[in-house]
């Protein structure tokens, strides 16, 4: 399937899904194009569309294989692009709304890879923490687990690849980094990121709504163990 317009690559994801990748000189441009396609496709409510899952610069389309095939979906996307000139977005166009300040107990015992990160990056443990809190991060995607927000960009000095073998259990609230990304684990789960500390807040409320949404801004603020215990939401 040949790419066209803003879509730089299309790959199969099984017999009932394709994955689109968006072009852009920066991830922000690619992400804005992804969001635009997501909204256009979602609003059309195609009866054959089962899932539409965005990430940084990619969009997974899962279709009902009883009804259509990937060639049909591809032709549908091409005809949408032909109809809608605004499918070609040159600017980011996104509007960021909310800024969250997220407290973090850095170096909490159950979520502490500071020594490993220090070894991999050559920074001291305090420099690792300072680098992590130095940025305002943007939420690019929500997924992996309910309310898990992928945020960027981590300063380059702090980049380290994922663990060779993912951990079987990462604790709820763990604040983690992988390459240019940072995130908070909303619940206990397996994971391959390096852990810096613990956040005391619940990231998903009792009605299954996520605290962090795509486009939001996030700042991290260091807290002590005692402050963590005071703020802990259980």
């Amino acid at each position: 399937m040949h790419p066209f317009g803003d879509i730089k690559q299309i790959v199969p994801a099984g017999l009932d899904a394709i994955l689109l990748y968006f072009a852009g000189d920066t991830v922000d441009i690619a992400n804005a194009r992804c969001q635009h396609w997501l909204h256009t496709i979602t609003n059309l409510m195609f009866p054959w569309l089962k899932e539409c899952v965005p990430a940084y610069d990619s969009l997974l389309l899962v279709f009902d294989a009883h009804k259509v095939d990937s060639h049909y979906v591809y032709q549908m996307l091409r005809s949408l692009a032909a109809q809608d000139a605004s499918m070609s977005i040159s600017s980011t166009g996104g509007i960021s709304v909310k800024t969250h300040e997220i407290p973090v107990w850095y170096g909490a015992e159950s979520a502490n890879d500071l020594a490993l990160v220090s070894q991999k990056t050559g920074l001291s443990e305090q420099d690792v923490i300072d680098a992590h809190i130095s940025m305002t991060y943007k939420v690019y995607a929500v997924g992996f687990a309910p309310g898990f927000a992928y945020m960027g960009h981590v300063p380059e000095t702090l980049h380290c690849a994922r663990l060779e073998t993912p951990r079987k259990q990462v604790p709820k609230g763990a604040v983690a980094i992988a390459d240019a990304q940072t995130a908070i684990y909303p619940s206990s789960s397996p994971g391959g990121w390096h852990l810096l500390g613990l956040c005391p807040l619940n990231l998903v409320d009792t009605s299954h709504n996520a605290l962090l949404k795509v486009g939001d801004n996030v700042k991290f603020a260091p807290i002590t163990e005692q402050e963590f215990r005071d703020l802990h939401e259980g």
Partner: protein, 310 residues
């Protein structure tokens, strides 16, 4: 009718066909690990498609407080009513108080127990599926598996429906000597042809590290020439290759996004077969084009329609 859980085995979960359209919020697909066995269980118990049922690992036992019609399916399922062996893959009419026991010959395989009627269980975000990690679904919508002493309320119709059976020659095939079909995709360009060749020529052992999220295999390591990538959506059956080179096939409760390179996807039909494999068994892979995989999927669907007279 109340169905009481007398024994819960290693893991008994209320599941249905899955939670659809919520992956963009991070909620996993869920649904039956072996969709074929699940589908047949509901049909044979006289239920509508998509009705909840119980996915069982180990030996579980249930008692209904009124007469009921049930069906058990899966790989090498052992089904007993009051210690008398009864056949899987057909309607079983049980009397009030009968003890229905479900087990699998292969420790770790999944059995499906369908019970006729309208299940009175929570359906958060449109599905009764229990997801432990997300704390969602199950009897109290807290993601808890069934425990001993739990009761499931099922509204049963007054009229009994007909006996239904699936001939053994039509039971799902769980033979692992046939390779699993892999549809190349995702980051396949980042794997050299010799790496892909090694995957298709090697045997992989199912490890003990298997669950509803994914199945870790062990064998000849496969490497991509990618050092980092952006996290992206993961569809069912995706074969992730972490840096240690040991493939992980992503299953029903997989995370919705992930950042390890993926070589392709195990075909939907073969996800069912892999789901029923147990630690120590070996599997092999063959490459299949997505059009051929879809044709095989549609043929299986037509077989269901033909056998059920629809």
């Amino acid at each position: 009718m109340k169905v009481s859980v007398e024994k819960n085995g290693l893991l008994s979960l209320i599941i249905d066909s899955g939670r659809q359209g919520k992956q963009h919020q991070g909620f996993c697909q869920s649904g039956p690990m072996d969709e074929d066995a699940y589908w047949w269980a509901n049909y044979l118990a006289g239920n509508q498609e998509g009705t909840p049922c119980i996915e069982i690992i180990g030996c579980a036992e249930f008692v209904c407080d009124t007469n009921a019609q049930v069906a058990a399916t899966g790989r090498s399922v052992v089904c007993l009513v009051n210690n008398q062996s009864v056949s899987p893959f057909e309607t079983i009419f049980v009397k009030a108080g009968d003890r229905v026991s479900i087990d699998s010959e292969h420790m770790g395989s999944k059995a499906y127990l369908a019970i006729h009627g309208r299940w009175q269980v929570p359906s958060p975000l449109g599905s009764a599926c229990t997801v432990l990690r997300e704390g969602i679904g199950g009897l109290e919508n807290k993601g808890a598996p069934l425990g001993v002493g739990d009761t499931i309320n099922i509204e049963t119709p007054t009229i009994q429906s007909a006996h239904r059976a699936l001939a053994p020659k039509h039971w799902p095939r769980y033979d692992l000597s046939q390779p699993l079909a892999l549809i190349l995709g995702y980051q396949e360009e980042k794997f050299s042809s010799s790496e892909k060749g090694r995957l298709f020529l090697s045997e992989y052992t199912v490890t003990t590290n298997i669950n509803r999220m994914g199945y870790r295999l062990s064998g000849s390591p496969i490497h991509s020439n990618m050092t980092k990538m952006r996290s992206e959506a993961i569809h069912i059956g995706a074969m992730q290759i972490p840096p240690d080179g040991q493939p992980i096939v992503m299953m029903r409760d997989r995370q919705t996004l992930g950042g390890y390179p993926k070589l392709g996807s195990v075909s939907l039909l073969d996800v069912n077969r892999l789901a029923q494999a147990v630690p120590g068994e070996t599997v092999t892979f063959m490459s299949q084009h997505y059009d051929d995989a879809r044709a095989a999927f549609l043929l299986n669907w037509q077989k269901r329609l033909r056998l059920t007279g629809e």
